[in-house]
């Protein structure tokens, strides 16, 4: 009985994906949209694996993605960089021997085997069925083991009382937080704020989509170009890939 709505969802999802896949402007350049949003009353499934592709060859020295994330989730700091929350940051990487310079955003890599989940003593760190790694702040005790375990330094601890949080992004003192891949947007069929802003005001260096969907823009790009998973040696199966590192 419960299969029926899921099957209906899958049919719609596949239909939407095929439609999205047909709009190709040039090799590697796609006008893509997300598959139709899942119905609000249905749970997420592992048939979808959300991922993000960062094209470092297009990423420039701007901070549009960081600003968009800060605006979307309201993690504007107190001017104390050592302790302020930081969900996404820009890194400048330079090859000392050649002088080649690359700028790229770094955030939660949404691992398939997340170390933060392994070490969490309360089960607050968890991985959703569709691959998004989150903190359930209702049960986070603020021990910060996950911050120590994360190889990407992706997580932050909220040190101070907050007010005026965004209705869609609850944040509070004494809990750990990180990139949610804009789960509130993704669940309603929208792209993460950083991806939207990079496409609008930046250089279009970010591609978001379902890695499991062979017709999605991100799947095609990953299948076409060589991409890198940061610290792939750790075998974490991250959902964020970089091109041109």
């Amino acid at each position: 009985m419960s299969e029926q709505p899921i099957d209906r969802y899958r049919r719609r999802l596949l239909g939407g994906a095929v439609a999205a896949g047909t709009v190709a402007l040039a090799p590697g350049v796609f006008l893509h949209r997300l598959a139709e949003a899942k119905p609000a009353d249905e749970p997420v499934t592992s048939r979808v694996r959300w991922g993000l592709l960062v094209d470092a060859t297009r990423c420039a020295d701007c901070s549009v993605c960081v600003d968009a994330c800060r605006e979307e989730h309201g993690w504007d700091g107190h001017g104390r960089p050592r302790t302020d929350a930081q969900w996404i940051r820009k890194l400048d990487v330079r090859d000392r021997s050649t002088g080649r310079h690359v700028s790229l955003p770094m955030m939660c890599q949404h691992c398939a085997e997340p170390p933060c989940v392994d070490v969490c003593p309360t089960g607050a760190s968890f991985r959703r069925a569709d691959g998004i790694v989150l903190v359930d702040k209702h049960i986070c005790i603020g021990c910060r083991y996950c911050m120590m375990a994360c190889p990407y330094k992706a997580r932050s601890f909220v040190h101070e009382s907050l007010s005026d949080q965004k209705p869609w992004s609850p944040r509070g003192k004494g809990t750990v937080e990180s990139c949610t891949l804009c789960v509130h947007r993704v669940d309603t069929g929208r792209e993460p704020a950083c991806v939207e802003a990079c496409g609008r005001d930046g250089n279009g260096a970010l591609t978001f989509g379902d890695l499991n969907d062979p017709n999605s823009a991100i799947h095609r790009a990953v299948a076409t170009y060589p991409t890198t998973r940061v610290r792939d040696d750790l075998g974490l199966g991250v959902g964020v890939r970089y091109r041109g590192l």
Binding site: A40, D41, P43, L134, D136, Q165, P167, P170, R171, D187
Partner: protein
């Protein structure tokens, strides 16, 4: 003494407002009925079980991505976090419907350490229509009905 008592009785009988003032040291809570036609459940159920609805919905939303608005905290706020003049009420304001009632009951909710306590501008509350499917939300209602 008897005369004073008689006056008090008269005052109490005079009208509900006067009776409330005289009988309670703590002001009664104020909950604006909201813009929707009816609440998501009868008043008695909401008074007793709203926290269980929110607890259930919170796990469904955070872990399983089920975002039905009906029994979500945001839906409560989008309907009730207004004053009689239709202006949004801050969580720091004692007239806020959560604050007002929890102060009266001497219970401190910890929702608003993280969640915004204000309504989303322009987003109306969802009326008390039946749950769309038999997922989560309806289960709570059934559970509470059975227990009673």
């Amino acid at each position: 003494m008897r005369a004073r008592l008689a006056v008090l009785m008269l005052l109490l009988a005079a009208g509900p407002a006067a009776a409330d003032e005289a009988a309670t040291r703590v002001p009664l809570p104020t909950v604006e009925p909201g813009s929707a036609e009816q609440c998501v459940a009868p008043v008695a159920v909401m008074r007793r079980d709203h926290m269980e609805m929110l607890l259930h919905q919170r796990d469904e939303t955070v872990h399983r991505g089920i975002r039905t608005p009906r029994q979500s905290l945001r839906n409560c706020l989008n309907c009730h976090a207004y004053d009689a003049a239709g202006q949004p009420v801050s969580i720091d304001d004692p007239r806020h419907f959560c604050v007002s009632c929890h102060r009266y009951a001497a219970v401190e909710p910890d929702c608003f350490g993280c969640h915004s306590g204000e309504p989303e501008p322009g987003v109306p509350g969802v009326t008390g229509s039946p749950a769309p499917t038999a997922t989560g939300v309806a289960t709570v209602t059934q559970g509470t009905e059975a227990r009673r």
